[in-house]
């Protein structure tokens, strides 16, 4: 069996993880802007201004890799997710457009664009969670699967809110930063509940996942994964009570959240591998021809390090507390 499909699955997963972290925080900031004061809202938008576009590109890469590397699965996946995909796209279109229009359009319409910005962010987040929920159950129809998908929609949205609050802790100061602590505190229980629900419901809904996680001695080897995630979440909550989260440790909640998401991601990958569609299509069934994957792999190997390098450069250029955007 060729290793190429495995490599491309890994690349696709990596793109998705990077996407969830990066666009996750800016979608979170977008949703939080709904409850912020007018002046704060401008600063919140400014904090994601230089980045949101590049962040969203990781989604294009992830879906691109699905189309490219697994042509025989993409039709099943995307047609089954037709409704949430359309809703997510409408959400992303609205918020992306609102980002520019709120500053360049008629000031009298600004509050409408603000509503589109926050509403679009929420719509995209919920739709993405819904998609993830459907995907994990293998697009099952029953009521249990629907409830599960709805639960993940809320859980992923809560994760984004927490990421967004964490981002604001890093990028802002003063009153807005203190408000971000409050937002993070409120999102935290939903994140914990959501992750617990996923951890309990996925093995319950799928026999494949069940045997994979609860067979001895695998269970012992895997135990650190959820344990570290729980510890990270506990540490995050503890930090939110400390004044240092406003100063020296302002980066820590965001970083801990990245740890939690990375661990969840590996847990999920372990549950699903080697399927593109669980119990139905393996990555080898779905993969494109070797010569095509090889041709693309050359490009990916050459460009992905460069992409990561200039992305880091961009974050370095805009490091520090946010300033008003003007150009």
């Amino acid at each position: 069996m060729s290793a190429l499909p495995v490599i491309f699955m890994a690349l696709m997963g990596l793109s998705l993880l990077i996407y969830v972290v990066l666009d996750g925080y800016d979608l979170g900031v977008g949703m939080l802007s709904a409850t912020a004061k007018e002046a704060d809202r401008d600063r919140m938008v400014a904090s994601i201004g230089p980045f949101w576009d590049a962040n969203e590109t990781w989604l294009v890469l992830a879906v691109g890799l699905l189309l490219i590397a697994f042509p025989k699965a993409q039709g099943v996946v995307l047609t089954a997710l037709y409704v949430p995909v359309v809703l997510m796209l409408l959400g992303l279109i609205l918020r992306g457009a609102a980002f520019d229009f709120r500053a360049k359009g008629d000031p009298a319409h600004k509050r409408w664009w603000d509503a589109a910005f926050a509403g679009g962010s929420a719509l995209a987040s919920l739709a993405q969670g819904w998609m993830l929920g459907c995907y994990v159950t293998g697009f099952e129809d029953g009521a249990a699967a629907q409830v599960f998908a709805a639960g993940i929609a809320v859980a992923l949205t809560a994760c984004y809110l927490l990421l967004g609050a964490g981002w604001l802790l890093i990028k802002t100061e003063g009153d807005l930063q203190r408000r971000a602590v409050g937002w993070a505190r409120r999102a935290w229980p939903a994140v914990v509940a959501g992750l617990l629900i996923v951890s309990i419901a996925s093995p319950w809904l799928s026999a494949t996942v069940r045997t994979r996680w609860f067979d001895m001695p695998g269970l012992i080897a895997l135990a650190p994964l959820p344990l570290i995630a729980l510890l990270a979440l506990a540490a995050l909550r503890g930090l939110l009570n400390s004044h240092r989260v406003l100063g020296k440790l302002s980066w820590a909640p965001f970083a801990l959240m990245v740890v939690v998401l990375t661990l969840s991601f590996f847990g999920l990958s372990y549950s699903l591998y080697p399927f593109v569609v669980i119990d139905r299509i393996t990555i080898w069934d779905a993969a494109a021809a070797d010569e095509s994957l090889r041709f693309l792999l050359v490009g990916a190997a050459l460009t992905m390090p460069v992409i990561l390098a200039y992305s880091l450069f961009s974050y370095r250029v805009f490091r520090g507390k946010v300033r008003a955007l003007a150009y």
Partner: protein, 452 residues
């Protein structure tokens, strides 16, 4: 309406909306780079003001291009899953290279270009702006390579109904690619040129003229005047290439129902698909043969030679005439405007001409969309010309779902299009900013050293 039609309409709506914005940004990226470079070289603040204004237009266009582009990539899978299943071995890597080499590049440096002017050195800022312009053009390279390959497929073989790549060089540089890329890049240049000239003319009419307005008008007119003849030549060569590879498309564009020698160039007609004839035809005898075969008696194969495999005639026939007609108007307005403006010492234009140019602000869009329809509808009934039919690759989605999402996209796109034009109008009419930042960059000596 059946689902296939709805899915087609949805895709058509999406590419129509999407293409409007790259058509502006591909060339406008280089134009703003030019303005920035002029400012760095001369230290004249109007160039900075021009850069700042047009960067805003660029950013707005870019954002709308991105959000509608993301939508397109998903629609391949939601509505046309068979395309990637059958042609994905070839289309996939081309799309992949676009994302990896171009899309990330544009998005990665856009932040620095827009917001980083005071955070990075002038040199890095110029490099970031140039990188965005380059990335946008590179994006066009890959997308047009794929699109051209779908029109003139080469370098593949078919095993078990699935296309496999044999020769990547032949795939990327397929026979129609150089013509299509040139035609598209020139179209983008013309779209930007008429937007520059049209908005400046509007500012002069509305009394919101600023120090930079005349320079931008001159820049737009010059660009338009230089590019339009080039585009006419490129378009003619592209037409010859299409005749060679897609004769059915040409037959539909020219309304040639039966194979004939010395075919007339129809200026106007109402093609009738049922009767297979043109009504109310007004034409110049033998001119179509002369243009297409460079021989007044040259033979043009008619639609009868492609029974059941030729595109619908009306959209191609009219689309082509709209595109050429707008091109002719561009020729008149760019050359006439340039001449009049120059004669006045680059000072003023007659009001009628200003009105005309304002009216032409978005003429590039009209020509581009018309040409795009000729290209894309002209490929029908195939998605990969001569190999794979569009109807074979469509998804089997419930009609109501496709209809509902079509309505959703249509509403949002229409609202955004109105908002876009209104925002540009508003920005154009807004008074000059209090004082353009610094007439000369702060560290003038250093900058002039690094830029001369």
């Amino acid at each position: 309406m059946d689902t296939l039609i709805l899915a087609r309409l949805q895709f058509a709506l999406n590419i129509t909306f999407h293409i409007l914005f790259p058509t502006i940004t591909i060339a406008l990226g280089w134009v703003v780079l030019f303005m920035l470079w002029r400012w760095r070289r001369t230290g004249e603040s109007p160039w900075l003001a021009a850069y700042q204004f047009w960067t805003k237009v660029f950013a707005l266009s870019f954002a709308l291009g991105v959000v509608s582009g993301v939508t397109m990539s998903f629609q391949f899978g939601t509505n046309w899953p068979g395309f990637m299943e059958r042609a994905g071995n070839i289309a996939g890597p081309l799309l992949g290279y676009e994302v990896l080499t171009a899309f990330f590049l544009e998005a990665g440096f856009l932040g620095i270009m827009l917001f980083g002017r005071e955070r990075v050195s002038p040199r890095v800022h110029v490099i970031a702006t140039a990188t965005v312009a380059f990335g946008t053009t590179l994006s066009a390279f890959w997308i047009l390579s794929l699109n051209s390959w779908m029109q003139t497929p080469t370098g593949y073989d078919i095993r078990d109904g699935v296309m496999h790549a044999v020769d990547w060089w032949a795939i990327v540089f397929n026979p129609s690619f150089p013509y299509r890329l040139t035609h598209k890049l020139l179209a983008s240049g013309l779209t930007a040129a008429f937007l520059l000239a049209g908005v400046s003319a509007w500012q002069m009419l509305k009394g919101s003229e600023k120090a930079e307005t005349r320079r931008v008008l001159r820049l737009g007119l010059t660009l338009g005047a230089v590019l339009i003849p080039l585009q006419i030549i490129a378009g003619d060569m592209h037409g010859l290439n299409t005749l060679k590879h897609q004769p059915a498309k040409i037959a539909a564009m020219e309304g040639v129902w039966t194979t004939e020698r010395g075919a007339p160039l129809l200026l106007f007609a109402l093609p009738d698909e049922h009767a297979k004839e043109n009504r109310f035809a007004i034409g110049v005898p033998r001119l179509a043969s002369l243009i297409l075969t460079h021989d007044a008696d040259g033979e043009i194969r008619g639609l009868d030679a492609f029974e059941g495999a030729h595109p619908p005639v009306k959209p191609l026939f009219f689309g082509f005439r709209v595109m050429v007609g707008v091109g002719m108007l561009m020729l008149v307005f760019a050359w006439g405007g340039w001449w009049l403006f120059r004669r006045s010492g680059w000072q003023r234009l007659p009001r009628a001409w200003l009105w005309g140019l304002s009216f032409m602000s978005f003429s590039g869009w009209v020509a581009t969309v018309a040409g795009w329809y000729v290209t894309e509808i002209g490929r029908q009934p195939f998605i990969v010309y001569g190999v794979l039919r569009t109807s074979e690759v469509a998804a089997n989605n419930p009609g109501t779902m496709v209809a509902a999402s079509l309505a959703g996209y249509a509403t949002v796109y229409l609202a955004l299009l109105i908002a876009y034009i209104a925002a540009i109008k508003r920005m154009a009419e807004k008074g000059a900013p209090a004082a353009p930042t610094a007439t000369r960059p702060l560290a003038a000596p250093v900058i002039s050293r690094s830029f001369t």
